[in-house]
């Protein structure tokens, strides 16, 4: 049997002329996230609301809606006719179900009437339904609380139907994926970069992750770990194209020819350039990194300064204001943390200089990489890139 969900969105309602376009993208994202389960789902918008009808198991619907950017909150809804008797019975049923889980509850009825032709106005409806509940439930078990009720029963009267719901799930908010465009993501196996990717997704970006693989300095289990991280991000944007760059030759070349203390800086400069070339082909408009100012040697302001100018695309650093603990908490929340902490060797940890330069300047860096045939290295890397399509579910 199909169930109804009422989905609320916030920010996109404010976006003027683009509003309709944004709503359509959100509608399509919701549909895509569920249509492998239910080809016949129905989704439509009414002013300010989206309604979804699907036969998919409720727990799956909830899990997936919780991952869709642009949804502020949603509720599983009972759809009824405009018959008052039906409404009062359903209201009482919700209260009684609630009392199965706890001794007593405070409650309120919140009515909204967009159908002004309905016989009761909002105030009257709230009063009547509330009174009906009180008359039919043990007085010791319920209490009206208009300000902070434990149970808030919402009743909405629309043109053809009434809708009753009590449970509200908070979504991740933000903007629907796709409205802001494609953005590259430098994805490593660490804790930070997947969180940075999530932040981009939440702002409506479609992420194109690029991972730098350096076999044998990193094993295939590290690559597998990155694929699993990308799969988690895919659940937030439906699917992901992961680009895997074979970085081994470049790494060895840098290690051989460049000053050791600049290793990480020069490596990052090349990674940014390669990412830009891959992302530009996909009409990407920026590159997201997991950098947070001052966190490690390659993230001092001086280090950021000499890497920042490599690509023409803007580099976005959504984590720059966060502390490590905050980043870890977010990683746990989105489900990437447990994968990120699997301890396989990471090329960065192998090639990390004993005493890295924390205050590099441009002159020093340009001199340091002068002996590299940068264009040739980059060309080779871009030509041998591997594309992995990752489905969300």
């Amino acid at each position: 049997m199909s169930k109804l969900y009422l989905i609320r969105y916030g920010e996109i309602a404010l976006k003027g002329e683009n509003r309709s376009l944004f709503e359509d993208i959100l509608l399509s994202n919701i549909k895509k996230s569920l249509d492998n389960k239910d080809k016949n789902l129905i989704i439509y918008k009414t002013p300010g609301r989206i309604f979804l009808e699907t036969s998919t198991d409720q727990s799956i619907v909830i899990e997936r809606l919780l991952k869709i950017a642009g949804i502020v909150s949603f509720s599983p809804v009972q759809k009824l006719s405009l018959n008052y008797n039906e409404m009062k019975k359903e209201t009482l049923k919700i209260v009684r179900n609630n009392l199965k889980e706890r001794e007593n509850t405070s409650f309120r009825i919140s009515a909204r009437r967009s159908n002004k032709k309905y016989k009761y106005d909002s105030m009257e409806l709230q009063y009547k339904l509330g009174e009906y509940v009180i008359e039919n439930v043990d007085q010791n078990k319920i209490e009206v609380d208009l300000h902070q009720p434990e149970l808030n029963i919402n009743v909405e009267i629309r043109k053809h139907n009434s809708y009753i719901y009590s449970k509200v799930y908070q979504g991740i908010g933000g903007l629907p994926v796709g409205v802001t465009g494609n953005v590259g993501l430098m994805l490593s196996g660490g804790i930070d970069s997947p969180v940075a990717g999530y932040m981009g997704i939440k702002r409506g970006a479609k992420i194109i992750p690029v991972y730098f693989h350096s076999f044998p300095f990193t094993g295939d289990k590290t690559k597998q770990k990155v694929i699993e991280l990308a799969n988690i991000l895919a659940k937030y944007q439906n699917n992901i194209d992961l680009y895997v760059v074979n970085f081994t030759d470049i790494l060895q070349e840098i290690n051989e020819k460049c000053p050791n203390k600049l290793m990480t800086i020069i490596m990052r400069r090349l990674m940014l350039k390669i990412t830009e070339l891959i992302v530009e082909k996909k009409n990407g408009k920026a590159i997201i990194t997991g950098e947070s100012i001052g966190q490690v040697a390659s993230q001092t302001l001086d280090a950021i300064k000499v890497t920042n100018t490599v690509p023409k695309l803007p580099i976005l650093r959504p984590l720059l204001g966060l502390n490590k603990v905050q980043i870890i908490n977010m990683a746990k929340k989105i489900g990437t943390y447990d994968i990120s902490i699997q301890p396989y060797e990471d090329c960065c940890t192998v090639f990390v200089p004993d005493s890295p330069e924390t205050h590099p300047n441009m002159e020093q860096v340009e001199k340091g990489e002068a002996t590299l045939d940068v264009d040739d290295l980059i060309k080779k890397a871009v030509n041998t890139v591997e594309l992995i399509n990752i489905e969300a579910y």
Partner: protein, 385 residues
């Protein structure tokens, strides 16, 4: 070159004879050995035959062997069952610092339960210190658990001598984790005072998911699992028939003494080549009969073991750092730490482990690549200096 598999201490290739026998069992002996009907009886008899085969190799009575789901489970049944039964006699339990995690973790747990845990150290060849055992063993001791062959270094512990020491006490059980020993070194459970002995099928070209515990006739341990009466109630649950039959078939194909000599030769050949042609190495495995034929542990200065593994992997050569279980943790294993190697060598320990199915040609091929990769990696890491 096809895959050169030198990770036989982690697990072994299942030989075709075992696969054939297991297929047959799943096809024809599908009934539950506990069932009363004819098919159940047929399965029960086949199970008895398999148990007898394995007991024949160990020279023990079929009543003294129970099957379990893994070596880890067998160690738990033995150690926890023993201390539960003997705790009225004392509180001290002794093991070595280089045991397999499946033993060390039990001892860590028992410490939280109020037992006094003593870890006996090993020498720089990974062999337990016999004098130290004499020193710490006393009337309050109820259990000693020492592995026969170390899974990372291949070092063979003086089990007979330890047994003699323990024999002088009334209320001590001696448990031996023999998982790496079965089929590799001589084991005599009849003569020695070994009360509990763990073996596992997947280290001898049998299937995973089946192991066994020898419980000496005169030894009583508590049951740590509850259920029906299978495996005398120590490991209740419907018997893993294909696993048990696969185990017994693998036992039928244990290496002959000629094959054991061949494995020793392969190991010594590789060790000698490494010593002669690669600089700055330490052979951690004792190179005589004080080590099991199948394990060679080597530390290369200025090399990261994990990277060396992946480098050899690109030539289809498969080895390990330490044990397969501990190599997931990005740190030096407790066994390598116990060897007290110089700092430069600690990261660079790898384990080659052989079987009778490896050939001289494979080892020559392996050495050629090993020499090459070590040289390259040192050049790369040397860039840092």
């Amino acid at each position: 070159m096809n895959n050169v598999y030198l990770d036989n201490a982690a697990t072994t290739i299942v030989i075709p004879e075992v696969i054939t026998e297991m297929n047959k069992i799943m096809d024809t002996y599908y009934a539950n050995p506990s069932s009363l009907h004819r098919l159940g009886l047929k399965a029960e008899n086949r199970l008895k035959k398999a148990r007898k085969t394995i007991c024949g190799i160990l020279k023990v009575n079929p009543k003294e062997l129970i099957f379990t789901g893994s070596g880890t489970v067998a160690n738990n049944i033995a150690i926890q069952g023993a201390v539960n039964h003997l705790k009225k006699f004392g509180n001290r339990i002794i093991t070595s610092s280089t045991e397999h995690k499946s033993v060390l973790k039990i001892f860590e747990y028992l410490k939280t339960q109020g037992f006094e845990v003593i870890y006996v150290p090993v020498n720089n060849k990974g062999i337990v210190d016999l004098d130290k055992i004499k020193e710490v063993i006393n009337k309050n001791t109820i259990l000693v658990s020492i592995m026969a062959v170390n899974n990372e270094t291949g070092s063979v512990n003086p089990i007979n001598k330890i047994a003699k020491i323990i024999n002088e006490y009334d209320h001590i059980y001696f448990h031996v984790d023999g998982v790496q020993a079965l089929g590799k070194i001589p084991i005599n459970l009849q003569v020695n005072k070994i009360d509990l002995f763990t073996i596992s099928a997947h280290k001898i070209h049998g299937p995973k998911g089946i192991a066994a515990l020898y419980i000496k006739n005169s030894v009583i341990i508590d049951k740590i699992l509850q259920g029906s009466n299978q495996e005398q109630g120590y490991y209740p649950g419907t018997e893993n028939m294909p696993g048990i039959i696969g185990f017994s078939e693998a036992v039928n194909h244990l290496p002959t003494s000629k094959q054991i000599n061949k494995i020793y030769e392969l190991k010594n050949y590789l060790a000698e080549k490494i010593k002669k042609e690669i600089s700055d190495v330490i052979i951690n495995t004792p190179l005589n009969k004080r080590s099991s034929p199948h394990i060679l542990n080597v530390s290369f200065a200025d090399i990261n073991g994990e990277i060396l593994i992946h480098s050899l992997e690109s030539a289809n050569i498969y080895i390990s750092t330490g044990s397969a279980c501990s190599s997931k943790k990005n740190k030096i294993s407790h066994v390598i730490k116990a060897l007290k190697l110089p700092t430069d060598y600690q990261q660079g320990s790898v384990r080659f482990s052989f079987s009778q199915h490896n050939t001289k040609k494979e080892i020559e091929y392996t050495f050629k690549h090993l020499k090459d990769k070590v040289k390259n990696l040192r050049k790369i890491i040397g860039g840092k200096k």
